[in-house]
Every structure is written in C-alpha cells, then in structure tokens.
Amino acid sequence: MSEMDSGTLITIVTIITAGFGIALGTIAPAMAEGRAVAKALESMARQPESARNIRTTLLIAMALLESTAIYVLLIVLILIFANPLLDRFF
C-alpha cells in the first residue's frame, strides 16, 4: 500500500465510479418511468376507449426516459472496457 502506481489507482477509481455511476444513474429514470406507467394506468382505467393512444404515447415516452439510463450505461461500459485514461499509462 506504500507505493501505488497510477494504473492501479486509476483502476480502483474507475471501478468505484462505475458502480456508483450505474447505481445513481438508474434511480432517476426508474422513478420517472414508474410515474409515467402509474399515470398511464390510471388514465387507461378511467378511459378504456383511449387505451390505444395512451399505450403508443407511453411507449414513446418510456423510450425517451430510458435513454438517460442508457447514456449512463454507455459511460460505465466505456470506463470498464475501453478506459481512455488507462491507455495513456500502459
């Protein structure tokens, strides 16, 4: 522990960052999608005749909300599999 080269340090920081990043970055989209689904289910139960339109709009909105989680996943995948900082040292 006395001497730690920069590659090891970057690896440690990368792993910690990836774990916290994916954990924190999926909370907000999950809550947003939950709210969207809850509202859509309420509306469908209240007006079953417009369920078709609501379902289409809900799927589009879910895709747009989910893309934020996908961005986080992409950053985490880059950090783990193709870390640009590690290439600089090795």
Binding site: N53, L59, A63, E66, I70, L73, L74
Partner: protein, 219 residues
C-alpha cells in the same frame, strides 16, 4: 463481445457483423418469397400492423412513408433476434449499424420535410422564432445520437447480462434472460420505428397546430 475483423477486401476490414447482415438479408428475402408463395396472409398481417401503427403515430396516411419505416422495423427486428442463432451475431451490437440507421432517419426527416413544404418553407418552419434555431439544430443532432445509443445500449446490455449470468451458472439459468433479450429486441425495433415516424411527422407539420390524435386515419 466486441466485433472482430474476419477478413479484408482491398484493405477494407469486414467484420462478423457485416457477414451476419449478409446472412440476414438472404434470410429476409428468402422468407418473404416463400411466404408470398405459401402464406400471403402472414405478409398482409405484417404490412397491416405496420401501416396501422405508423398512421396512428403520424396522424396522416402512412402510405408514402411505409417503405422506409417498414424496412427499418423489419430490419431491426430481425437483426436483434438473429443473435440467438449459433455462429451469428446481432448486427446491432456493433455501434456502427445503429449509427447508420439513425443517419438514414436523420437525412430522410429533412428530405420528407423539404418535399412537403419546399426548401424555403421548411427552413422558415425550422427557425420559426429565429433565436430558437441553435436549439433546434442541437435537438436534431442529439436525437440522432439518442436513437443510435438507445438501440446499441439496449442490445449490448442484454447481451452482457446473458454473458455474465452464463459465466456464473451455465446452460440453463440464462434461458429466461435470453427470452427477455428477444423481447427487448422486438420492443426496440418497434420503438425505433415509432420514433422515426414521430420525427418525420414533426418535420411535416412543424409550424401547423397539432391535429387531434384521437382522429384515427386508416389507409
């Protein structure tokens, strides 16, 4: 996990995703020919489903846009599920394939917008309050990026989940997750098509008041 180069033609590297795209093209064309001869009703069901979905989303008759959007839907759906066949990989798990599809959508949005309104009218509708033009340009670019990354991220994440579970508990435990990845692939094909239809519809009627979506247009 990442695509590897199989061979090179004249210095151009050909990856395994390209080869499975070729296999996929032959599969789709052959299946369409066989179905057209034996069971034409199945093809009609597919075309009717695509037409209904697209015209519901766009709020106008879908016939002029069905060739592009239907091709996108069928290509992405087959590309996402073809990874379960051994020795083939999903073409969409290389980021270049979703990027190419998203660029096709990006160009065709402007093409259909200009064809509907003329060049001057389309540019005027794009910059209707003039100070919103930079935001509009950023929006156009970032929606291409998000189309790309949504398709790529969903496919690569479900494949990674299956790979990780397979390395932990092989052979039978990952099977439900394989089913889940098939479901995700089909859903992503639907979402990509619907979003492309929404973007084209927005380019067609950018400056007009949005029509009531409850009116059902059928062709």
């Amino acid at each position: 996990m990442f695509p590897n180069v199989v061979f090179t033609i004249f210095g151009l590297p050909v990856r395994d995703t390209v080869i499975s795209t070729w296999v996929m093209m032959g599969l789709i064309v052959g299946l369409a020919l066989i179905l057209n001869r034996c069971q034409p009703t199945m093809l009609e069901i597919i075309v009717d489903f695509l037409t209904d979905t697209i015209s519901d989303v766009m709020g106008c008759p879908a016939a002029p846009y069905l060739p592009l959007l239907g091709t996108l839907a069928i290509f992405i759906a087959v590309a996402n599920v073809i990874g379960v066949i051994p020795f083939l990989v999903s073409p969409t798990h290389d980021v270049n394939t979703p990027l190419a599809l998203a660029l096709v959508v990006f160009i065709s949005v402007h093409y259909f917008g200009i064809r509907a309104k003329g060049l001057i009218g389309y540019l005027r509708a794009l910059a209707s309050p003039f100070f919103m033009l930079p935001l509009e340009i950023i929006g156009q670019l970032s929606r291409t990026l998000s189309l790309t990354l949504r398709l790529f991220g969903n496919i690569i994440s479900t494949e990674l989940i299956v790979a990780v579970i397979f390395s932990l508990a092989p052979l039978f435990v990952p099977l439900p997750l394989v089913g889940f990845s098939l479901f995700t692939g089909l859903l992503q094909a639907y979402i990509f098509t619907v979003l492309a239809a929404v973007y084209i519809g927005a380019a067609l009627e950018a400056n007009e008041p949005i029509r009531s979506r409850s009116v059902e247009y059928r062709t």
